[in-house]
Amino acid sequence: MTTTLEQAKTAAIPQGGGLHRRLNMATAMIGGIVFASLFWYLAHHFLDATSRTYSDEVAGSLTIGWIVGFWLGIGAFVAPLRWLIGRDNTRADDLYLAGQGQGTSRYWKFTTDHKVVGVQYIIMTMVLLGAGGILAMAIRTELIVPGNHFVNQQVYNGFIAVHGMLMILALIVAVAGPWGNFVVPIMCGARDMAFPRLNALSLWTLVGAAGLLLTTLAVGSLTMGWVVLEPIADQAGVGMDFFAMAIIVFTVSTTVAGVNTICTILTMRTKGMTLARLPIFVWGAIIAAALGLYAFPYFSLVEAQTLMDRTFSTSFFVANAGGTGWLQANLFWLMGHPEVYVILLPAVAALFEIAAVMSRKPVFSYRSAVAGMTGLAGLSILVWAHHMFTTGWAPTLGGPFMLTTELISIPTGLFFLVLIGTLWRGNIWMKLPTIWMFGFIANFIIAGVTGIYLSDIPLDDQLHGTMFVTAHFHYVFVGSVLFGAVSALAFWYPKVTGRFLNEFMGRISFWLTFIGVQVTFLAMFASGLRGMPRRYSSYAFIFEHTNLMTTIGAYIIMAGMLVLLGAVITSWNKGEPAGPNPWHANSLEWMVPTPVPLENFEVLPVITEDPYNYGEELVRS
């Protein structure tokens, strides 16, 4: 059994490619560093050094230089410039860009093949989760006992901000990135994404943004939390400029990816692949992409305004010149709550898919599943102010926002109905993807129920800003989304590599992570209920025991994740061979060979029925 990586070496490298033949991640890094230095030098020498905003202007210039140089170095500007002068790509150029015959080197280039981009997203997600996880461990180590001085308070603040944002970025792409790219086009019966070059652009733009975000730790002075609270962010050090620019660049990446996903699904489905026959994961991908397209312009704008306040002396958030912090809160949460579902929906949809395959039953109430995801997306844009109940903003709107927030329970309830209905009396195959799915179900119940508490204004008044809130959203993101993401990884891993993810290590990882999540976040709920505030680097002695438990739990989660990382790495080339359709599934990604050929299908298929008709077949053997 060969892997996707090995097969690509057998084809000849095409003649085309032009400048792209010389460009890769190393040239991108060099380009970024050279241009960042150049822009820094120019800003340093030509901007007014007496200006109050001088250091921010220099930092802002440097970040622009980084991203311009990174794009230049990876080859992102080649296609626009070729378009400008009327020299379009040849077939050989396209094949070269698709990575034909280039072996593993194509994973470090501006490669357009959607499967390569999918694998790049897997790597990127693991890097982001790893970096965010290390910061989480540092935070928990600081909080292991009251008055600890593992890091100083300013560094701790930076850890909080960067940990939060890294994890959010990682989870936004954790399912939609790898599997939205690797399997969605094949599931639709397409040969690639609608815009292959934009696909590569979105991936490498994310890499550039991650570079900026990781650099913020070295620059420091991040006092504003991951939500970039104003007016604190206006007063933060130059690390804030890096942070804001990283987010702006990231929103470019997600916008491009969202447009690409929607176009692929709506315009590239093969004949007979009607909307009613779409695999349910494809529905999750398109709804999440559409929601992202709505939400991320707000994110981009609010960070741009923060940068403008800091570099141009505008006053969006400066009250004594007419600005207000409420503007930041509104714009941020107009993005912030839909973003939760941009993260959650692909994971939930992947679990619907996995539940159907692993229980040999159609998705229970397919239309309810689609309606639930659509309803959740629709409602999510009407709830943003529940994050601002205690800020004093528009108290008369509290009731309506409480109502819309509680209405979210209905589509969320549909998710449980669909998942449990699909599994009910099914011939459940208890393999790794299924086990992580059950973990999701257990954790998501806790996440959902505690969310209802926080949507009620009287309780929110008491719990807002406490560790209870932190525990709630960690049950959403770690307990639910991460479990869904790992389930999806275990499910589609054989299609990527031709091998199963190591079952034994995967189960050890599951139990460590599942137990770790309960220990960590149930103890955190207790801290919150007793009044412990979020984001503090120290605390009163009454919170000592619950914090110790939380830290121990966090270490257990980290151990579980390290075991999973070990499973991913060791299984890649040495795992048990899986064959092209190890789960006996019916959707198109399992009908093509493993490794999947460059353009997926020899002949485009014609679909005649939905993908969940398993008949009487039993999977156990």
């Binding site: 007496t50 009327g86 077939r91 040969r191 447009v259 004594n320 353009e599 002949v603 014609v606 679909i607």
Partner: protein
């Protein structure tokens, strides 16, 4: 999933892939892509106008707009005067400001609308007469008009006045909320116009080199969609910012 892998309905063989498909197929896909990008841009415009109207509505400390401000010198000029001369105010540059020039605002809008009109007429002409040369000429003309609009937009940006404002226990220069919102709006307009100029230049060169012609015109139409949207957005911006600005 039941599939028929030997269908005669398949339009593309394995060796033609998705990489060189018929123009009408690519056109439909790219048209949707452009509309989606425009949709995202509409949300962005909505967020900008929300910022503008929200800051005006809140009017923190009555500082939405200042009737007096300072312009004509770089920031350091005032900063140095404050520092070196112990806080005296530079009287010669005190000017009445209030709202930004509505004339300049509408001039940029008119130029954008005119350039969109030219590009639309050029495309219609190309499809009717198949004359790529005249299309190229009109695309160039549209690009020139856009460049003129860019120049006026830069002038707008340079004339946004500043006020003295307390910041971290010292007096400094800052923009009022109105001027901040206008800077974001005008800056966004500038970015859009630069993109239009790039696209216009591309259409000019591509049509001159035969990449866009009487039979291959779908890219011209795609660019026209975006161009017209920018013109419409410009009208919306000018209408809102010149009719809803001061607080009485």
């Amino acid at each position: 999933m039941s599939i028929d892998t030997h269908s005669e309905l398949d339009a593309h063989g394995a060796h033609d892939g998705g990489h060189h498909e018929p123009p009408e197929v690519v056109d439909g896909r790219q048209r949707m892509g452009v509309w989606l990008f425009i949709g995202g841009d509409m949300i962005g415009l909505g967020a900008l106008l929300f910022t503008y109207l929200y800051l005006r509505g809140v009017n923190s400390g009555g500082h939405w707009m200042s009737m007096w401000g300072y312009t004509g010198h770089p920031y350091s000029y005032y900063y140095n005067i404050l520092d070196v001369k112990g806080g005296s105010i530079p009287n010669p540059k005190l000017i009445h400001v209030g709202t930004l020039s509505a004339g300049l605002n509408w001039l940029v809008t008119v130029l954008t609308v005119v350039s969109a009109g030219i590009i639309w007429a050029a495309e219609r002409g190309l499809r009717a007469t198949k004359n790529a040369k005249s299309y190229s000429t009109l695309a160039a003309a549209s690009t020139v008009v856009t460049v003129v609009a860019i120049v006026f937009t830069v002038i707008q940006l340079r004339h946004i006045p500043q006020i003295f404002s307390a910041h971290n226990d010292s007096l400094t220069m800052a923009y009022t909320a109105y001027d901040s919102a206008m800077m974001a709006i005008v800056g966004s307009t500038l970015i859009h116009l630069i993109v239009l100029a790039f696209l216009g230049l591309g259409l000019t060169i591509r049509s001159a080199r035969g990449a866009i012609n009487g039979t291959k015109w779908y890219q011209a139409r795609l660019v026209r969609f975006f161009w017209v949207w920018v013109a419409v957005a410009s009208v919306i911006i000018s209408a809102v910012t010149t009719t809803i600005n001061t607080i009485h």
